[in-house]
């Protein structure tokens, strides 16, 4: 095998991990700043100019913290579980291209680790591995709150994975490929967000549940589970869970951008390939802000509502969306490409119908949310 190629892969892997670690560190800072601004505070501003060294300070603090291991914990699994949570967050982006290829040192270097032809399947498979880390962490802690958090988390994640998997079918149907690179190329003319508005909404909601973000952060509910599955973890082992959670936020934003927002595509990207990562960064930045905004706005939803929402609302809606997409493609193939626009029309109609059918539930839930906030 070519030695230079091997070296290229190793360098690209290191660069990806470095980028992820840096963006994780500054995502925590970004979240604290944005949340503070929404709550009319200033946020961290002491460490370094404007608070920009806050992530470094946090890391130093966590490194020199005492690490506790409960006496009755299952020691080996207790150590392996946080590592197992971090791994999928690090490797899930291996199949997403961050830009088209550029010429570097006389070599064609593609921006992205690899582009396998079953990229979407890989993403779904790797995303479900992170459940293991959380469940094992909860179980090996030998603490009833941690156990409950881990079990809750697994039930929640597998429930929303159905809607997640079904919402990815839309872009695959339109692009006729499972490779992320080809899905991005298929969005040369128009972003799939406009052809799949409901699919994008379902994907976004399901990923919020998948990465345990608010308003679906039941596994970490402080008020009832003290912290959920990572209650017994401290120091750098806690940091591993923390890193994994924020990296998963970045990863799902990148994947959503690739599937629905055209990935690295934008004006003039074919002439200047280096614009690609820049466009992707802007899209991910906006998506991450929406995540933080959701956290600042919505209260945590109750667990029975969470499961009912996933199974009774999101899953049938996602299934309907897939079928309407298929019908729209057949219409477009028969009567002309303009009929592709029947997909968003029909799916938005279905979305409104489902909203109407569930209106009582939604009304009670939102009334309750408002009364909690007062």
């Amino acid at each position: 095998m070519d030695l230079a190629l091997l070296l290229e892969w190793i360098i690209k892997s290191l660069v990806l991990i470095l980028i992820l670690l840096t963006s994780f560190a500054y995502l925590t800072f970004y979240e604290r700043k944005a949340l503070a601004r929404i709550q009319v505070r200033i946020g961290p501003n002491r460490a370094g100019p404007g608070g920009w060294l806050q992530p470094v300070a946090d890391a130093v603090k966590l490194i020199f913290k005492e690490e506790l291991t409960p006496a009755k914990a299952y020691k080996v699994i207790f150590v392996i579980a946080p590592m197992l949570t971090l791994l999928p967050a690090l490797i899930i982006l291996a199949v997403v291209p961050f830009g088209s290829s550029i010429t570097l040192f006389g070599r064609q270097v593609s921006l992205g680790i690899t582009d396998i032809n079953v990229g979407v399947l890989y993403i779904m498979a790797v995303a479900s591995i992170s459940v293991y880390g959380i469940v094992l962490a909860g179980w090996s802690s030998n603490n009833k709150y941690a156990m409950l958090g881990g079990i809750r988390s697994s039930a929640q994640m597998i429930s929303y994975e159905l809607a997640l998997g079904l919402s990815i079918i839309g872009p695959i149907l339109l692009a006729e490929s499972m490779s992320i690179g080809e899905i991005i190329d298929a969005q040369r003319g128009i972003w799939f967000l406009f052809l799949q508005p409901v699919g994008a909404i379902i994907f976004w909601t399901a990923t919020l549940a998948e990465v345990n973000r608010s308003p679906f952060d039941m596994p970490e509910a402080e008020q009832e589970l003290t912290a959920g599955y990572h209650v017994e973890y401290s120091g750098m082992k806690f940091a591993l869970f923390f890193i994994a959670e924020y990296m998963k936020m970045i990863a799902v934003s990148v994947i959503l951008a690739a599937l629905f927002l055209g990935g690295y595509r934008g004006p003039f990207v074919d002439q200047v390939p280096l614009l690609g990562p820049l466009y992707l960064f802007v899209k991910v930045f906006v998506l991450l802000f929406i995540m933080i905004w959701v956290r600042a706005t919505l209260p945590r939803i109750r667990y029975d509502r969470l499961m009912a929402f996933g199974w009774k609302l999101l899953f049938p809606l996602a299934l309907t969306n897939v079928f309407l997409t298929a019908v729209g493609i057949i219409l477009a193939d028969t009567y002309g490409p303009a009929f592709l626009w029947s997909i968003p029309l029909m799916s938005i109609l279905a979305f409104l119908v489902v909203n109407y059918l569930a209106r009582d539930r939604i009304a009670t839930a939102s009334a309750q949310a408002v009364s909690f906030r007062r």
Binding site: E67, N142, L162, F315
Partner: protein, 118 residues
């Protein structure tokens, strides 16, 4: 081509190394002074009551079983989605029949209360 998966393997090895490094850093630099109180399971400062791992409500297992059923359905969607344009109307009807059978099971589970969480 199988060679496309080699970069993922490299990335996996490096990521494992990073995770191990982080655990090692924590072990090396943090102090370690365990006492009896610190080693107890954390229950907001109270003395822990009962065992840590206990029986779980059966609903969680029910959800897991239903998940396996419907997740396999999603997996069947993937190859169908790729060749859908070639199959055309035939593919749509075929898939509808397949989903209809599973939907009967879905409605049954719903009516039986398997999706309720009370």
């Amino acid at each position: 081509m199988l060679i496309e998966y080699l970069p993922i393997a490299i990335l996996l090895v490096i990521s494992t190394g990073l995770a191990a490094l982080i655990v090692w850093i924590g072990n090396t630099f943090g102090p370690r002074r365990p006492t009896l109180r610190k080693s107890l399971p954390y229950e907001s400062g109270m003395n822990p009551i009962g065992p840590g791992t206990r029986r779980m409500p059966v609903r969680f297992y029910l959800v897991a079983v239903l998940f396996i059923l419907f997740d396999i359905e999603v997996v069947f969607f993937l190859p169908w989605a790729i060749v859908f344009r070639q199959l055309g109307l035939f593919g749509l009807i075929e898939m509808f029949v397949f989903i209809f059978i599973l939907l009967v099971g879905y409605v049954y589970a719903w009516k039986k209360g398997a999706l309720e969480w009370e």
